[in-house]
């Protein structure tokens, strides 16, 4: 099973006067099969940390080990490959492709990962059912509520059974009951598949369910 280890990761963002040190020598470890919560005030760098762990952003220094691979050492192509083959990512916002139905959002991810998208339609419908969207299979992004959009994104992050799940505020736009159900889904999935699940959140529901908490 694959774990995620960050060692002395530093990141500055922006250019010129706006250049800001966001992460300064952050170290953390996430075990597979467990839900790890990432907490901290707004602007503390939670999303940035996820981006580093998700091979979107190359840190200025430090190591980002996913199993034996140091993501910080990979080039542009290597990081894209890691993203499509090993990582499931739910971004804080802007997750969906315009004009596609919810099912197609998942199939698009499959297509990018080189899976036979056409044959995964039934699996995609099941995955959407798991996040409570079994009745929204033919809706397009602009026909969904904010919470529904984020649940589609969650279903997509889980869909291809990645080694690493990165989830940015899954419960920000849903009600209490939904928040509990989604947190449970993430925890169960991590346990069942033995994957790393790192969840940035402000929500006590998520924090309570986590086996590990990282504070920024």
């Amino acid at each position: 099973m694959t774990s995620l280890t960050l060692r002395q990761v530093s990141v500055s963002l922006g250019h010129g006067d706006a250049r800001t040190p966001v992460l300064r020598g952050v170290s953390a470890a996430c075990r597979p099969g467990e839900l790890t919560a990432l907490v901290g005030p707004s602007g503390s760098g939670k999303s940035t940390l996820l981006a580093v762990a998700g091979a979107l952003l190359r840190p200025d220094s430090g190591q980002v080990l996913l199993g034996d691979t140091d993501l910080a050492q990979l080039g542009d192509g290597g990081r894209a490959k890691a993203r499509r083959e090993r990582i499931g990512y739910m971004f804080q916002s802007g997750n969906l492709l315009g004009g596609l139905t919810t099912v197609e959002q998942l199939l698009a991810a499959a297509s990018i990962a080189g899976r036979p998208a056409r044959r995964l339609r039934a699996a995609a419908e099941t995955a959407l059912g798991d996040v409570g969207l079994g009745h929204r299979l033919r809706h397009r992004a602009d026909q969904l509520s904010g919470g529904e959009r984020q649940r589609v994104a969650l279903a997509r992050a889980l869909f291809l059974e990645p080694q690493l799940l990165l989830i940015d505020e899954p419960t920000a736009a849903v009600d209490r009951d939904q928040a509990g159900a989604l947190t449970d889904l993430i925890a169960r999935t991590a346990r069942a598949r033995g994957c790393v699940a790192l969840v940035a959140t402000h929500d006590p529901v998520v924090v309570d369910a986590a086996t590990e908490v990282i504070s920024m």
Binding site: L56, N95, L97, A108, I112, A113
Partner: protein
């Protein structure tokens, strides 16, 4: 591929609209091209059919040579003495006439020597046999002139007996008819209103048609005989309207070739800018640059090829509809060439946006602007 098709489907309205724009540009290019060739044929096909390599005009005629140039019989005799050259007289005059069955027609009278290399072969009836006879272009037959008719040249009263029909040939948008040089001289030099052709018409011609071996010294002959010799293709410019029509049509075509890539480039440019968030998301989900570029090319190719194919069909359909009424000619090869040019120009326009596609930044998924 699946993803490229998903994107096409998701934006089908826009792609359809763009395809229609490409279709219209392609059809317009095809139609303009058809008219360029058609009008050109209508202006010079009689000259193109002349089995001559060169035409010798009188030196004072700098433009509209066929109307202005007059070459005397002595010069013809001089040319006929030159080594490596076959020479025969040619007269060209546009006139009009009425048949005994009351068909009124315009006629480009070509005066040729019976039995010379200019004497046209016929598809129906008899070849030119002597003075007062007329071999007409197929086009005149379509306008109601038949073998056996007598065509009287308006205001001159010169009667011409139609003996044969040759292939399509016209000059300055007027269908050609072939007569003997003597008959041509009567048409050219008789004063209108004179009741009988004047005796002793000038022994002159519009030009001397030459069949010159490549070794023939044409410049030397021009110098000695006082003529100006040009190749038959160069003489097209002397046909009425030829140069003006060509410049007009060619410049329209030229601008359409410029417009095609600009329109397609602008479309894909706007579309790519609008799509930056989606492209960034696709990159963040792990799609490689190469893959996104591939998608864009596939989509551009689909729009451009679909549009040009439909445009080609539309241009051909227009050609079939109007071809009988107006000069329009769009043979398969010309159609293929113009459509290929439109498609290439349009694809070049789409290629302008590839850099933007490749540079979509997955990090914007972090930004607050989304």
């Amino acid at each position: 591929m699946y993803l490229a098709l998903l994107e096409l489907k998701a934006a089908r309205g826009r792609f359809l609209l763009m395809g229609c724009v490409v279709l219209l540009v392609a059809a317009l290019v095809g139609i303009v091209s058809g008219f360029t060739t058609g009008l050109g044929d209508d202006t010079v096909s009689a000259l193109r059919r002349l089995p001559a390599t060169h035409l010798a005009f009188s030196p004072d005629a700098k433009s509209d040579q066929f109307a202005r140039s007059l070459v005397p019989a002595e010069t013809l005799a001089g040319w006929q003495q030159r080594p490596g050259v076959q020479a025969t007289p040619l007269g060209v005059t546009i006139t009009r006439g009425t048949t005994d069955r009351h068909a009124e027609v315009d006629l480009a009278a070509f005066g040729v020597e019976v039995g010379s290399f200019l004497d046209p072969a016929v598809e129906d009836g008899q070849r030119l046999g002597g003075d007062g006879q007329l071999v007409i272009s197929r086009k005149l037959a379509e306008e109601g002139v038949a073998i056996g008719d007598t065509l009287t040249v308006d205001r001159l009263g010169i009667a011409l007996k139609v003996t044969g029909i040759t292939g399509r040939a016209s000059y300055g948008h007027v269908p050609a008819g072939y007569v003997t040089t003597a008959t041509w001289q009567a048409i050219r030099f008789t004063a209108p209103g004179a009741s009988t052709p004047a005796a002793g018409l000038p022994q002159q011609y519009s030009a001397i048609a030459l069949r010159a071996a490549s070794s023939a010294d044409l410049d030397g002959a021009d110098g000695e005989l006082g003529t100006r010799t040009v190749s038959v293709t160069d003489a097209y410019a002397a046909a009425p309207g030829y140069t003006g029509e060509r410049v007009t049509m060619t410049s329209i075509q030229f601008f359409l070739y410029l417009i095609a890539p600009l329109v397609v480039g602008a479309f894909f440019g706007v579309w790519t800018v609008q799509r930056q968030p989606e492209l960034a998301l696709l990159r963040a989900m792990g799609a490689s640059r190469r893959r996104l570029l591939g998608h864009t090319l596939v989509q551009a190719a689909a729009v451009v090829l679909g549009g040009t194919l439909a445009g080609a069909a539309l241009a051909s359909a227009v050609g079939l509809l109007v071809g009988a009424e107006v000069p329009f000619s769009l043979p398969g090869l010309a159609l293929t060439a113009t459509m290929a040019t439109v498609a290439l120009a349009a694809l070049a326009g789409a290629a302008l946006t590839l850099r933007r596609v490749a540079n979509a930044d997955p990090m914007t998924m972090l930004g607050a602007g989304r």
